[in-house]
Amino acid sequence: MSLPTISRVPASGLLRSIRDLRWLLRSIAPLATPRRALTQMGYRRPGQPREDKPPWWRVKFDFSKGLKGMKRHFTLLKEEFFAQFVGPMGKPIIEHMLEQNQVLWEFRGPHSLQEWTISCDREIGGKSEVYLKVGRNNETCLLYGTLCSDPPKDGETRYSGYCTMRAKQPLASFDRKRYHDWSSFNTLHLRIRGDGRPWMINVIAETYYTHQKDDMYSYFLYTRGGPYWQDVKIPFSKFFLAHRGRVQDDQHELWLDKINAIGFTLGDKADGPFQLEIDFIGVCKDYAHTEDFAYEKYKRNPEV
């Protein structure tokens, strides 16, 4: 015969002085799984049960995978060590001094797609679709799919209909973050061919505080439908700061010394198929462009 477990609060007459009895029940209830702060949790799709598993429970331990990983990381470490003898970031210093153009991503085969990740509102229960494949003759990449603005029927989400493609964060050995240093340049140069839809280009820079992790710098990319390629040059001074898609009042220029990723987002609320073909993404230095920042930085409507 098992002992009865205490699962109820003692009679309230004895505890009249305690206003909230729930804190008392907590002390005799089973210890709950520690909950992480909101800023640290990943996205939880509305209507799905909350996952309270610690992160290490989701990892699959595999010895051979571990060995391959060690080999890969030590190889990267060796390359980084010897790259320092070539110059900063593995490039000779003469390149740093004289470079005016740099191609960062050019799509020349299936291997180039591994540096990118795609996403759409299907993850939150929507009906859009997005795919990424190599274009004709392995010369370009094609981002295509179908946009659908119907919000998922979960009772929480009101808006939907987006597709996005984002570069993965470059990693050094042992999964340390590596950054792009674009401080020698001032313009983003893309060669694209679209279908007339307006896209958003997002540049994600390195931040320090946790509450800044969703900060991104955005600008518009208007594509012209048709068989002709578009050479788009957008100065970095035009990018404005947004947090979780909301444009911020307190604007500042994009610092180019630590860039994590670049992304393209489509959310124009026009349901139907879309296509975007990209030849290359690069940066260049336009000496004629001397603007530091295109928007006002001073405080508008200051408190008196």
Binding site: H96, M97, Q100, S183, T290
Partner: protein, 348 residues
């Protein structure tokens, strides 16, 4: 920033340093250093961008840690020796702890790691204040500590010279290069402090002059990357001629002013039978000279391969007052022949 607030912060900076200069009590000296730290924090965050906020946070953490250690050392010294006087820091433990705390304050190796990241996140003007004015108060205290065993100073100095040269090797950001340059020069100052404090003062003043002229030059041509140095000839051609000389003076080449402190320090170290340390320091300064030469090469000896359709920046008249730059550049380049006079001034 409102002019009233700006002037209050600048006056607080001056007040903090003056308080430390004028104090004989550890507590008052510590207060002056704290006022300095707190006054520069809003100046660093004037521009609301993530890099500046990150730099300010890192600076605050480093300085707060050093201040706490300094206060702990002062209180421990008072407990062990019974005195609060700055000159009476006789116990070896508290003396070492104080030295390490002040070394972290000014960014000496191996406590230097905050410096390049902090400098990278600041504007050139704030970086100038950090490299020059903010060093004075801690240096005043280091100067007054008379250690029995000079090994701590020699270790800190030698490490700083090596790390300052090695760290700046593969940098392309000018502010980080200047941070590593600062670390290397501070190493030279600390190296000679136990043997000849007036030489430390001489090195400090020479360094302040050279750094001021270099920062001012970079502010005038508005450049923070090695790449943009190559078009500075189109902005202000005169600077293209004077900045290499400032850089070579920083590197310690004769017949420029920067040679003077290095020459006298090596001479003094040799007299103290520390020839191997002098050799090591001299060889390590070659690293620094390498990246100074690289900057000179980029600025003066290189023409950028411009596109025919590209345009060069306009040669506008500089809006800043260039008199301080002119004075400090002159002293940075031409002061070596006045060595006997300078020696008479500093040897007391």
């Amino acid at each position: 920033m409102a002019p009233f607030v700006y002037s209050t912060l600048i006056i607080s900076l001056g007040l903090g340093t003056a308080m430390t200069f004028a104090s004989t009590h550890w507590y008052l000296a510590w207060m002056g250093i704290e006022i300095n730290t707190l006054a520069i924090i809003p100046l660093m965050t004037q521009n609301h961008n993530p890099r500046a906020i990150e730099a300010t946070t890192k600076y605050f953490f480093a300085q707060a840690t050093a201040s706490a250690t300094l206060l702990f050392a002062a209180v421990s010294n008072a407990f062990l020796t019974g005195g609060w006087d700055i000159l009476q820091i006789n116990h070896p433990l508290t003396s070492t702890l104080t030295t390490l705390a002040l070394a972290m304050k000014i960014g000496l190796a191996p406590l230097h790691s905050w410096m390049p990241e902090v400098m990278q996140g600041l504007s050139l003007l704030t970086g100038l204040i950090l490299s020059t004015w903010q060093k004075l108060a801690p240096f005043c205290l280091i100067y007054q500590i008379q250690p029995d065993n000079p090994n701590v100073f020699i270790t800190l100095g030698l490490l700083s010279v090596i790390v300052g040269g090695w760290g700046g090797f593969n940098q392309v950001q000018l502010r980080k290069i200047l941070a590593y340059s600062s670390i290397a020069h501070l190493g030279w100052m600390i190296l000679i402090l136990p043997f000849s404090p007036p030489l430390t003062l001489l090195t400090l003043f020479t360094y302040l002059m050279m750094t001021f002229s270099l920062f001012s030059s970079f502010m005038l041509v508005r450049t923070t990357h090695i790449n943009s140095l190559s078009i500075s000839w189109a902005k202000i051609p005169t600077l293209t001629a004077s900045v290499p000389l400032i850089l070579l003076s920083l590197g310690g080449l004769p017949p420029l002013t920067g040679f003077l402190p290095k020459w006298l320090i090596l001479q003094e170290l040799t007299k103290q039978d520390l020839a191997p340390i002098a050799t090591l320091a001299a060889l390590s300064s070659l690293f620094s000279l390498y990246f100074y030469l690289r900057l000179s090469y980029t600025m003066t000896l290189t023409m950028p391969p411009n596109n025919p359709a590209g345009t060069l920046p306009w040669r506008l008249n500089p809006q800043h007052n260039t008199l301080p730059l002119a004075l400090t550049t002159t002293t940075t380049i031409f002061l070596l022949p006045a060595t006997p006079t300078i020696l008479a001034l500093f040897t007391f």
